[in-house]
Structure formats: C-alpha cells, structure tokens
Symmetry: C2
Subunit: 261 residues, 2 copies
C-alpha cells in the first residue's frame, strides 16, 4: 500500500516507477479518478456519451488532443507516467499492461478522467457507516443491469452498478450523504429489489466478490459504476484505448470534500 | 412573444418558420439553452473547455458529429430548424443570420447546448425577488472580468459575468437559491466590490444595458455568463461556428425544477 497523504508526492513516487500497486488509501483526502484515453476520432462521441450519462460517467477532467498534462486542472501531472499501471486495448483486446505509456502516446490521444466511488465511500466511513468490502479488503460486487445508457455514436450499452447494503433505518442518511457528491456517481440509482433493474441473483455479481448473505434488516442499494464506460468501450472496439489497471487510479490534487454540493 | 407553455409545440411553431423572435417567456417551466456548433476538429478542445469551466459553460447537451437530433436527450428536436434565429461565423466574422441552418449543416458538425441564466432567474422570481431588467424588458448588464478561464487548446479568454443587485439582507437567500442550480451557472462567482474582479465602472457594461444607480443598501452580485464561450470562440476564429442569435434560444423539454440539486 502507498502510505502517503500528499497527492503530488504520491504521483511523484509512482512516476519514478517506485510503486505500481493499488492506490486505495493513498492520499485519501484526494479525489482518485478512472482513466480512459481514446484517439480524437472517438473522443467527441465519448465526451457526448459522458455528458448524456453523468451518473456512470462523471467527467472530472478532460484533455485536449496530444496533451498529457490536462493543463494542470487536476494538479501538476503527466497522464503517461502518473498511474501505477495501465491497460492497453487494441480493437477491444487487451494487448499490454505497462507501468507507463510513453511508448503508446500519440498526438491525437485524448485523456478522460472519471470520478470513482472512493470519493463517496470516505464520507460514509467518516459518518460512521460500515462498508464490509473495505473492512475485508475485497472488491465491491458489480452487476450488469437492464437499464440502457443513453447512447452516443458508437458508444452504447447497459449501465453497470455496484452494490452496498445498509440497515433499513440508515437508507435515508446514506442517500443524503452520497447525494451530495453528484460528480462521483452521487445518490444510488436504485434501492431495494435487485430484479427491478434486471439483477437475477445478488450473490452472483458480474465483477467483484459475492456479498455475504444480507442480514434480514438490510436493504441493497445500487450505485452507477465506473465499470460502465469500460464495458461500453470494449463493445465499440476502438483502434486504441488505454485505461488504468483496476485499482491503480490517478491520484488528483482535488479534495473529496470540495466535490460536495 | 411566443406565448405557449408546451416545449414541443413551441419548437414545432419555430421549426415551421412561424416564429423567429425572442424565446424569453415561452414554455417558461422548461430549460432554454445557448447553442454552439463547431466542426469536429475544434469540438474536442471545446468540450474540454466546457469541462474545465463549468460555471460559464454549463454543458446540458452535446451531439455527436453530424447528428442534428442530439439523440433526443433534450427532447424530440432538430437543431438545424428549432431555434428562431441563428448566427453563422466564418473565421470569427459574422456572415449570416438565418432562421434555419439546413444549408450550412455538414457531417462533421458537433452541437453543444449550454444552460443559461433564465433557469435560475425563474426560481428567484417565484421566491418573490425583483429583477429590474425583467420588469423593464431590458438586457442584464454584462462585463468582461480579469478572471481568466482555464484554457483548453485554442480556446482561452476572460470570464464574462452578468450583474444583478439585491438588498444586503437578501444576499444569502439569493446565493442559496441560485446555488441549487450548478448546471445553469449556479451561485455567483463574486459578491460586492466590482473592482475586485476587474470591473472599472459598473455603469459601463460591455454588453446589455447600464443598471440604474444602485440603491444604498444594494450589493452587486456577479454570475458567470454564457457570453463567455462566445467571446472565447470569436477569439479562436474557427473556420465555421454557428450559434443562436441573442435571445433566440433552444427550448428544451428539460424542466427547470429538475436541474435543482
């Protein structure tokens, strides 16, 4: 684990190749982001896709073609080196998982940084709520739903959600806290019966680990999930796409608390 | 004035060429938007500019290249015909002010729809606040500030603000009401001394009409203004740019009240 609270220093250590693991817990007052890099010829459609689907695709930063620095809007950073690990896809196939992407960078590439659920999990923890997947160090269960995203050009597909369950009497407060963070998935898209959004079996997630049997007084809550754009992009099979490797996020200088409305 | 409350019908009348005037007051429960259309080669940079400057450039809708319908995200509409009047610019020069843009449409054009201050003025009026420029039917005063927008590629420039003044004891409530609408400029960017943001003379606005002398107990409040992207685009001199003609906005199906957070 990268045990450092300063976001700039954390990126520096990663940039120098001294750390290539998960970023969970590092600089945890700061916003971490999912990364998507696409050639210009796909970038307008993907920007429109994010604009039309802000819950699963909260765009907290966007580059211009060929600019790896995002004009310092998220801090002094270099998108080519400042994530611990990347994934490189060609026509939808994973071809490489490098620790920097210097050799892949081109003048037509556009970087998109999307908010992630870490930003609303922290305020939940600070308010005293328990998150079993964090306590156990496992990955939150994620499911493909029957809710279709609003398509944009070549990008279309179902919304993916993550699930966290809470006692019935805590639902309102959890909705309130997460609702204050619309730029990082915000309030849940659904509370209660999983089948209402096309989830057949809560104990067979499409990604992450199956939850323990829900206590009787617990209600499942479902949040739009950052895996959505990954699924949508994989379906579109762009000539080139570079993302973060799961769990190896971009640590930005933005403060989680500044995202609250 | 277009005296009709249904947004679809309002667009239909405009589409058929039966109305080409201001849209203020038409379908006034619905969100009206500023229009910017740019060729794909500029669109990624402009999307990044909006993402980096959400207060002056709140992006409520975005098309994909060549799509004039915005995939119905803002209602059943055709961006080429559904605004009363357009302005066509080539390399920054106004060359035409047509009532439809069928003859200018190309497969590489991308439409951007930006929120406007009408959406937060209505809740202010409903809460009992007075807005003199509306009572008098004049245009709100607008000023170039010394606050630079966060640049993106070829797009850069100062932020433009609009001014409305209120009695000192109403400031807090006005900030609260407008702050609930972050997707349409939101809370003011500055309250008080105009010179703090580079405005030398409150009675010499760069656009709109000079306000009457402010009553002694009044404080000027300044909101990020949708004229900002127009100034920035004019400076970038793109080969082609099409906008709405001032006051002749896109009437969407979105409800103002749904923009409140």
């Amino acid at each position: 684990m990268l045990n450092i609270q300063d976001s700039f220093q954390a990126r520096e250590i990663i940039r120098e190749g001294k750390y290539c693991g998960y970023t969970t817990g590092a600089a945890n007052q700061h916003v971490q982001g999912n990364l998507v890099i696409l050639p210009t010829e796909y970038a307008v459609e993907f920007a429109a896709f994010c604009n039309r689907n802000p819950k699963p695709c909260p765009l907290i930063g966007m580059g211009t073609p060929g600019d790896p620095f995002l004009n310092s809007t998220l801090g002094e950073l270099d998108i080519r080196t400042d994530l611990p690990k990347y994934r490189v896809f060609r026509y939808g196939e994973l071809v490489d998982e490098p620790t920097d992407i210097d050799s892949y960078w081109q003048s037509d590439l556009v970087a998109f940084v999307l908010g992630c659920s870490l930003s609303f999990e922290l305020p939940l923890l600070e308010a005293g709520f328990r998150l079993p997947h964090i306590e156990k160090g496992t990955i939150v269960p994620m499911y493909i739903t029957n809710q279709q995203c609003n398509p944009a050009g070549r990008f279309s597909g179902p919304m993916v959600v993550s699930m966290r369950s809470f006692p019935k009497n805590q639902i309102k407060e959890v909705m309130h806290i997460t609702g204050k963070f619309p730029s990082v998935h915000g309030a849940p898209i659904h509370v209660g019966d999983p089948s209402a959004i096309g989830i057949k079996n809560l104990y067979q997630p499409n990604w992450g680990e199956s939850p323990d049997t829900l206590p009787e007084d617990h209600v499942p809550m479902f949040w739009a999930c950052g895996v959505t754009p990954q699924v949508v992009i994989q379906k579109a099979k762009p000539s080139l796409c570079i993302t973060h490797s799961p769990g190896c996020m971009l640590i930005t200088d933005l403060l989680n608390k500044d995202l609250a409305v």
